[in-house]
Subunit: 443 residues, 2 copies
């Protein structure tokens, strides 16, 4: 699609289509081919990271137009995205008028994943003592200036303290000569500047708000967080959790935008930890070397048995990780979870164990693969699977709760981590069961 530079313009859809795979030079070229009427919208739709990339590669003369297009919360994100390169943040801030620069600087002082870092300081305000008609007139005036999001109107007193809130629907519904104070809702759900974004997004999903007001410690209103920003937060948090569940550090950027070595760094840490952990299986197995020497057939089932524990464990851990993230479950539910998971583990282990026993008995009938003690061997395998699956399910379900209890991220109880933990125990369980059951026959 990029091979027709003759054509003077390009549609937004065409550029959107190819954008992810373009180099920065191609992106610049494509962006300049957009008709001016749509270039604004295209720019506003980009992620902060992509806006930053474009902006830093534009000549200084063109930067100002684009920078001034952005509302303060998006500008703060942009500045944060360019801040990795020294001097760039200041260069962006220098393009702004004084009022906007002050707003952005205030926002930059908040942590990126707090409510303060998400909020927009430009919200629609009214006074409680205004009439409905005055309020609508005042909102129209604010919209003409610089308020982006007119969805709720916030009634503030002279000290900027929040007194109540009106949805536009309520405002439109009310008789013209009523007072704002008579119509507004007094009981407002608010967040503080330092509320974590995960808590903020849970409030949004629980209550279905369009926007939430952010207050400082003196109850003065500082801005609003709108639900469209929450969609991004929810996506981000889910991506982090999924990547952690897959056994790596969260990537924090799209796959193709992370450099080769940056990507390796996110992956090697956990792989090394897991590799070192798995070495314990070699240690555990070496203490049963004598048993293996006497009955090599025992070693054939090691991967089968330990992986069944790992699989059931990773099911349990992802269930609990997600339930915790969605607030469906709390730490104090641990005993209820433990009972339920042990029971599940016993049933699941019983079914898998029975299948394992059947497999060995049938194979013995068909091919005589496992010698005269095949049935006993099958029983040892089945019992081990029962034990390993039960243990794996319990360990997988408890680990995220333990991590949360000690202030770590439950999502670190990844599928590979749980599998590694359970593998070592699986080796011990299997060879112990085998020694007890097969003494005097195979061993």
């Amino acid at each position: 699609m990029m091979d027709s530079p003759q054509s003077a313009s390009l549609s937004v859809e065409e550029l959107h289509e190819v954008w992810p795979v373009l180099s920065i030079d191609e992106r610049l070229e494509g962006f300049r081919l957009l008709p001016t009427s749509v270039a604004d919208d295209f720019f506003l739709d980009l992620s902060a990271r992509e806006q930053a990339e474009l902006i830093t590669h534009l000549p200084a003369s063109e930067r100002r137009t684009w920078v001034r297009l952005l509302p303060p919360d998006d500008l703060a994100d942009l500045v944060q995205a360019v801040a990795v390169e020294p001097g760039q943040a200041d260069a962006i801030l220098a393009q702004l008028d004084d009022a906007s620069r002050r707003e952005v600087n205030v926002l930059l002082a908040y942590a990126e994943d707090d409510a303060g870092g998400l909020m927009n300081p430009r919200f629609a305000r009214v006074r409680p003592e205004m009439t409905i008609d005055e309020a609508i007139g005042y909102l129209r005036k604010q919209a003409r200036e610089k308020v982006e999001t007119v969805y709720y109107a916030y009634a503030l007193d002279a000290e900027q303290r929040l007194q109540g809130v009106l949805s536009l629907r309520q405002l439109f519904q009310a008789a013209s000569d009523k007072k704002v104070a008579d119509v507004m809702q007094h009981d407002v759900v608010t967040v503080s500047e330092n509320t974590d974004q995960e808590v903020v997004s849970q409030l949004f999903t629980e209550h279905g708000f369009m926007a939430l007001p952010v207050l400082d410690e003196q109850n003065r209103m500082k801005g609003i967080v709108t639900v469209d920003d929450i969609v991004d937060v929810v996506q981000e948090e889910a991506t982090e959790d999924i990547q952690k569940v897959g056994g790596m550090e969260a990537l924090e950027a799209p796959y193709f935008e992370v450099g080769f070595f940056g990507m390796l760094k996110k992956r090697i840490g956990w792989l090394l930890v897991l590799f070192l952990g798995q070495m314990l299986t070699a240690t555990a197995m070496s203490s049963f070397e004598g048993a293996i020497e006497r009955a090599v057939v025992l070693s054939l089932f090691v991967p089968l048995i330990i992986s069944s524990g790992g699989n059931s464990g990773s099911q349990a851990s992802t269930l609990i990780i997600r339930a915790l993230a969605l607030g469906e479950m709390r730490l104090k539910d641990w005993w209820r979870v433990a009972r339920r998971e042990v029971l599940s583990g016993l049933v699941l282990g019983f079914v898998l164990g029975a299948v394992g026993l059947a497999r060995i008995v049938v194979w013995q009938e068909v091919a005589g693969a496992y010698g005269e003690h095949a049935f006993l061997l099958g029983c040892a395998v089945a019992l081990s699977v029962l034990g390993v699956v039960t243990f794996g399910t319990l360990a997988g379900s408890m680990l995220p709760l333990v991590l949360r209890r000690f202030g770590f991220d439950p999502a670190s109880a990844s599928a590979p981590f749980v599998a590694t933990l359970v593998d070592v125990s699986g080796v011990v369980i299997y060879f112990t069961v085998a020694s007890l059951l097969l003494r005097g026959t195979l061993l």
Copy 2:
């Protein structure tokens, strides 16, 4: 908190706090203890599933009040939630006035995860030929009747075809005597009734809309999807993906709300498939039984080697699964992904292999654990790890793409599934490398 039935009322926060762990009878009791002024909001905040549970347990005389409180899209969700019990859906519909019942019935005809199933048929409409002042007056009238979401005003012609859209900000900004048609945006992003909710949510996250209009095949406007519903969609889709990545079927309800046997059914299927798959490791190992008999020490490293492939594979698969879900990557990028992942696998495998070799050499020095050929054994382990990790990374990254290519859900390439796939190949790689390297020494 529930042990003080003497106190006449209960706060919303108190009830929210304990809600997840209450039985249905306790929920009913708690709900009735709420002051009437807040009970409305509490009810509206519940999930459709929870609303349905309450409603079906309330006496018929009280149902109507609560049912009539809900907008048509939430009512449709509620009806769907009660529809598992025969007769309940009709009982709910019977509580509605004729106009609402018609609206709900129309919504019920859509698939739950299409745009049509998400939309609200009550949106704010204006005529292109109205003046701004007339439009504002008309919106106030609609708000007094039954429009829930006044965020954008949609300009429709006499045949209900969408001509343009105005945000309230634009409406408020414009001079009173201008025409709607002069101010409105003509180029509107729309979705059709049958657009899948995952596509709809990608549009929202890409563009940051507050609402999207839904059109039928004749371009007539049927309703709007609002961003607050999209937050739920995004959470749901992420939950499904995380649970699939953990190696089970998506649960489709909160942990504690799924019955014990329902939960087992979601888990046993994949566990059985994986268990049967893992049996191939036993088969693979049995063809190397002779080698194990000659050098039992080889068997000690089987879990270590195969799990390193599984771990690197599950990292790769979760990365790709998430990148596909977020639209960061397409099928045609497969070659770029494959090259990158093979290179990653080689580097990661080299590092892990080196660590493995060092471990064996050191252990031999310290404890003499592995006999005179320890260094050669170490080399065999290191080379196998290199091969298994490279293969695991490649297989893990390609599997989600292959699944998508054939119309399956990429998230089915779960960590345990990839691990199982790689384990079998790991056994073969390890014993093949060992036979080649150790022939004449250990073997």
